[in-house]
Amino acid sequence: MSNEPWQMGEIAGPKKALIITKPSVVVGMVKKAKRALMVVGHEISKYDLGEESAIDYMIRIAETFKIPIVATAHTVSEFVKRSCYPIWWMSALDIANRLQDPEWEGLDGKGQYDLALFIGIPYYMEWTILSGLKHSAPNLKTISLDRYYQPHATWSFPNIKIDEWFTHMKEILGQIVEK
């Protein structure tokens, strides 16, 4: 069940996300990408484990990878509170819509992206958005950083517990720093 879609009816196929079995996959993908970005939705705030907050992780990962963050909905407010790392904001659908336009010039005017990491959009909405990208953005790879299996991503974690998830994030950070 750990690699079945998290929400029960959201069956997908024939083309389904590869499972991220170890965090190094994520690191490898980002390093391989020419231009990557990270999309963070408002449910990121559900990823809090006591003193650890996922937003901080996302900021550190983005900083280390040197990739931009797009905060969707009102999530930007959380980032504004926390950091001066430059954050873009846009609705989830707007960023997705742009990601599938081969002519989009990117947040910085330097062109389209080839990798997008998603986290924190409500499961079913992220599901439909990733589906849109799977079908309409053939040159884009997508990674779901959420702790639920997202079948329409190119790569996704399986369904995992929150502490596992934090461990993975730590490992990702460790590995970026390492390399």
């Binding site: 069940m1 029960m8 609705s91 819509n97 409500p122 909405m125 589906s131 849109g132 799977k134």
Partner: protein
Amino acid sequence: MTSRKSIHFKLDKLKSNLAEIDGLEVSIGKIMGEEWEEPFGPTPCPSLATLREWDLKLLKRYKPFYLPYCDVCCLCTMGKCDLTAGKRGACGLDICTQQSRIVLLACCIGAATHIGHARHLVEHLIEKYGRDSPIDIGKSVGVDIQAPVTRLVYGEKPETLGDLEEVLDYVENQVTQLLASTATGQEGDKIDFESKVFHAGMIDQVGMEVADMAQISAYGFPKADPEAPLVEIGMGVIDTKKPVILVIGHNVPPSVEIIDYMGEAGLSDSVEVAGICCTSIDATRYNPRAKIVGPISWQLRFIRSGIADVIVVDEQCIRTDVLIEAKRTMTPVIATAEKNCLGLTNRTRDPADEIVADLVEGRALGALIFDPEKVGEVAVRTAMLLAPKRMKFKVIPEAKEIVEGAGKCAQCRFTPCMRACPNNLPIREAMEQAAQGDLEGLSNLYEACIGCGRCESACTNELPIHSYIIGASEKRIREERFKIRAGRGAIQDVEIRRVGGPIVLGEIPGVIALVGCANYPKGGNEVAEIAGEFAKRRYIVTTSGCSAMSIGMYRDEDGRNLYEVYPGGFDAGGIVNVGSCVSNPHIAGAAIKIASIFAKRKLRGNYEEIADYIHNRVGAVGIAWGAITQKAASIASGFWRLGVPVIVGPHGSKYRRMLLGRKDRKEDWYVYDARTGDKVFVGPCPEHLFYAAETKEEAMVMAAKLCMRPNDTPKGRMIKLAHYIDLHKRFYKVMPDDLHLLVRTEADLPITMKDEVMKILAKKGWKGNVIPDPTLLPRLVHVKEGKRDEQ
């Protein structure tokens, strides 16, 4: 029951004598326009492709972004076809076209549902009140333009119930043609499918308008009455000491007959009539003593509460397992619609006595009765007799039982319960807590629970999870005692005259229409918060259906009910409940009437020009925060064709595609200046046509932005920008990043923010823009020699 009544009627007339044939002629003649001086516009009774060019204009700017909800197509025996990313099906179809096809299919279902409902209502009312019974939805308060949508689309103005039949012939024909387009091997182009989706929405608006006009006129619902009475809503308002009849659905005749029978039998004080979904709204429009339980999501909880002694269902939005659920509380179910027979025996021709006896003695779980009058009698008599026997037998457990039951929760690793829940609610955790005697976790799920029961189906241990949530929220439910303003129906012409200018010039910052169902991501309070926020800011807030209920079932920080705080007039700061789902065209109708009354544009069969007017000038936005059904989809598409943007909640992303503008593409945002023929940049106004917001905060910020229109005067734009910036700063904690696209002249700038904004604009290299007399239709440019930009 047959559908041939109208034909039979004609037949009788024709057969009986010539005078009556003449009568028939006149009535045909009348609707055919003999008494209406306004000449036909270019497109009366448009067919599938008549307004295609207009649609293509909108769809070029607001391109569909497809969110395929399934990778395959399963609609014919050559399938399933894998349509993943570029693959084509056996008929040649690709994934995007398939999505647009499904959208059309959904909108056809939605439109057919309203139209079928309208037909049933009109036939019934003609039978009861006669075909010459006049259409009057507010003549005494000066509603001269009745049926604005029908005038605009069909090109006629119906004056009697009989006139409505031909309108329905037309819309039924169009629905059939649209549905035909979804067949395997028909339409092959996704944009053409989208154009047909718009057509379905437009046709649907006509159908809804017919339905509501008929029932307002015949039943004497409030007629464009801003002071329609406040009626009671909430599970707590039902007097459980009385026998209770629960009505569910949309088609009000059975409820009306129940109320009438009670009156005739002198039982008005002895029996409670309470309803769920639009039938309850319409019952309160008929008689303000009827009560509303709540929106669609209240069905399971109320049935299981055992309060209802009889359940009467008509059509639409009814749980398909209503019989099974009602059986558990020993509540008989009376089905009343051909469209929803529920497998029950047809008792229409049986004597009421027999049916009542069978239901009271439990010999039958329910009965199918197509005659509303008989339903009225049977329901009331059954409730009276059964109530003392049933003793409100309920299946909602007490606290003790819940704790016990929760103890049986296996704390499953992959939480089937949570994974089955549309809102992903943390049921396992709540169960764990409950097992330890603390029901707060369960009770916390109440607000966001849409009452679907899927968790129960999925639970490995078959725990009645939803019932536990309800049981744990007992106190809260008892406190569900609210008010809602009964649906007022149409907007008066005089109200339009009053606000037309301020709206078009932008001084009333916008019209926010909160409509649709109750599939809310985080509960109904969000809808009420949105309503309150915009009413406070003196937008005009209109509402209908389940959303209107959710607005009522809320108390603000000060414990006040919004309908008590804000008036019901179509004016700045009003919260205007137009009524049930089929009342929605009054909202579109208001926009249409602004064009007609305020701007004196011709209405009759003149769709394109009016839509162009509304799109460029009337700052209206629909928000269907919990849109569920195919009906909600077609209602939205009716707004799209008029150029009115619609926001849905995150679950709305399952509607398979959005219509998104791209504010970063300057070339998309030009209009003609009707004065000069020049093409003028007007910025992304409105930015999107259909769009799912992730959170209510996003929805509010976006709604404020989507109210801007190219025609805004500087003063109007200033006000709109002020609200947009304010909401943006409040929720996002930053200034908007697109002000340079929205500010045309310095005069647009809110005075208090002027310096701050000017700095931002300077950084963006902003240069001012002309404010045109905007139109997307070159033919509306006032022709000047050598100047007109023909395209």
